[in-house]
């Protein structure tokens, strides 16, 4: 998604066009357009961020630390972190396999699968949670099976992990597909000709070429998993101390008018996601 994120300032946009004198009109139009865009971004993006920072720090940094070091807040953050980690591990295996199959294999219905992969981008998180509730809830088809196996999925961690997996499905796959396509098969064929096994070819030839797409997919998945809210709310129920994640804590704290706690947790969560995404952006730029 952010593949086009960072352009080196292109020489073309810097050099003046030959044969045209820039009239005062042109200069003013240019200034006006830049001013409009800068104002828009300031009002839309920067002002809310500044408001959150000042809101969280309104009672001083001590209040933030106190609010965040409450045991239920810490356990909520810890729960979020473990769900995100599990999600990342599962998607690094299954997401890679999925991207591989979609690029390298030909089978009927492939175009439909290709469309389905993007569906979690657009499906409402609430609907995702609700689908899982229909599947695993008290009155579902699977309920007797789950009961017999003594498995609790709805209103428990497994359901929340499934919900997060659903929501983050496209990230790894979409990062890897273009890289796999670009890499092609020549080098793999060369390796196979030299006697490498399928696994050897994958680990020694293909994977190193995918490495950056893989890392980028991982970080996007992780950041998205940290911020998931609607789906884990519906399937997890947000029971304090049991199924409450960081986002669910923020929701409850706002409801209970514990503003310092809500704002500080929101700020910390936003900063963590931001640091992850920016960090991987920097890594990628360095690589290029």
């Amino acid at each position: 998604m952010t593949a086009a994120a960072h352009h080196p300032p292109s020489a073309r946009s810097v050099t003046r066009r030959p044969g045209r004198i820039s009239l005062p009109m042109d200069v003013w139009r240019r200034r006006l357009l830049i001013a409009i865009v800068v104002t828009y971004v300031t009002i839309l993006v920067l002002a809310p961020i500044a408001a959150l920072i000042s809101g969280a720090l309104a009672d001083g940094i001590g209040a933030v630390v106190r609010a965040l070091s409450q045991p239920d807040v810490l356990s909520a953050f810890w729960r979020t972190l473990s769900i995100a980690l599990i999600t990342v591990v599962v998607h690094s295996i299954c997401g890679t396999a999925l991207a591989w199959v979609l690029v390298r294999h030909r089978f009927p219905g492939r175009w439909l699968l290709n469309g389905l992969i993007d569906l979690p981008f657009a499906v409402s998180a609430v609907v995702v949670g609700y689908m899982l509730l229909l599947l695993f809830g008290r009155t579902s088809l699977l309920a007797p099976v789950l009961q017999a196996l003594n498995l609790k999925v709805a209103f428990a961690l497994p359901g929340m992990i499934l919900a997060t997996l659903f929501v983050t499905l496209p990230f790894m796959v979409r990062e890897l597909i273009p890289v796999l396509k670009e890499f092609g098969v020549e080098q793999e064929q060369a390796a196979a000709t030299l006697g490498a096994s399928g696994w050897q070819t994958f680990w020694l030839v293909t994977f190193p070429a995918l490495r950056w797409g893989f890392i980028y997919g991982l970080t996007l998945t992780f950041a998205r998993a940290l911020g998931e809210f609607g789906a884990v709310l519906v399937i997890g129920g947000g029971v304090q101390g049991r199924t409450e994640t960081a986002t669910l804590y923020i929701f409850r704290a706002l409801d209970e008018r514990q503003y310092v706690g809500a704002y500080s947790a929101a700020l910390v969560l936003g900063l963590i996601s931001l640091a992850i995404v920016l960090g991987s952006d920097l890594l990628r730029q360095k690589e290029k």
């Binding site: 073309r12 800068v38 920067l46 396999a97 294999h105 569906l119 998180a125 609700y130 911020g227």
Partner: protein, 285 residues
């Protein structure tokens, strides 16, 4: 892993691949079926339990219908503003150089990195009724932002800001400027050049970016439930309505609205996919 692999006896080239292929394909397709197809099938089956008529009836109940209409019109207003401003932002980023351009370019991606719930909290802190700005706007102009449609539109604009910019930017960058220069030589004004030469070349990324942001907006929940609250017939959107129906155990209501939202999302994604495929084949030729 690769130490294990390299200790294996070397098979003849490609000998193990049919099994490996089949194994990987089975894993991938099973995963997709379990994760995506089964849950989707269950919700469609549940939504259509009472037949299409039952689904319609449930959608046409006053509260559900209001929620759906609110979702669609706020998303449409967002899409219009986002298309114009996204286009303009991409144009400024590609065509002009000015101090702070790199920072502006980085800021465009920021909304992708921030959880939408946090976006909602930010807007409440900025425009909420207790805050300085929020109470001033309400007093001076009678504008209510939070718990009202303007808040929903602002939240959606924040979340979808990168969609149009990042769709248009690469196309604008690779656009050949000779045609524009030719038009200028022939005496066309800057607005005519933009409208007649530049814009037609950008319609595809503009359309896909707009459609994707619209699809994204229909399902948005985290930011909206914070900004708009859950007031039926006033500020309740479709996603928040589903939550309410789930909580009050009205299964038909929740399933019917979910099916409608899914159909809209899938339809829009297929259209975008089809548009993009058309471009790819025409480029290959």
């Amino acid at each position: 892993m690769n130490t294990i692999a390299s200790s294996w006896p070397h098979p003849k080239a490609g000998a193990s691949s049919p099994w490996g292929r089949r194994g990987v394909r089975t894993v991938a397709l099973t995963y997709l079926t379990v994760m995506l197809i089964i849950p989707l099938a269950v919700i469609f089956q549940d939504g259509l339990r009472a037949g299409l008529g039952g689904l319609w009836q449930s959608i046409l109940s006053p509260i559900a219908w209001h929620a759906l209409k609110l979702t669609l019109w706020t998303a449409a207003v967002m899409a219009i503003i986002n298309t114009v401003m996204g286009m303009l932002t991409a144009y400024v980023l590609v065509r002009y150089s000015f101090p702070g351009k790199a920072l502006l370019n980085g800021l465009v991606d920021l909304p992708l990195a921030i959880p939408t719930l946090v976006t909602g909290v930010m807007l409440v802190v900025l425009y909420g009724p207790q805050t300085a700005l929020g109470s001033w706007l309400a007093r001076e102009f009678g504008w209510r932002i939070i718990f009202a449609p303007p808040g929903i539109i602002l939240a959606l604009l924040f979340i979808t800001f990168p969609f149009v910019v990042r769709a248009v930017q690469p196309v604008l960058q690779s656009l050949d400027r000779e045609q524009e220069e030719a038009a200028a030589t022939l005496g066309a004004g800057p607005w005519t050049i933009f409208r007649r030469v530049t814009l037609p070349a950008l319609w595809l990324p503009l359309t896909t970016g707009t459609l994707l942001s619209f699809a994204r907006a229909i399902g948005e929940f985290g930011a909206i439930v914070i900004v708009a609250g859950n007031i039926p017939l006033r500020s309740q959107t479709a996603a928040v309505y589903v939550l309410g129906e789930v909580e009050s155990e009205n299964r038909l209501g929740a399933s019917a609205m979910s099916v409608v939202m899914l159909m809209l999302a899938f339809g829009l994604i297929l259209v975008v996919d089809w548009l993009q495929r058309g471009r790819q084949t025409s480029r290959d030729e």
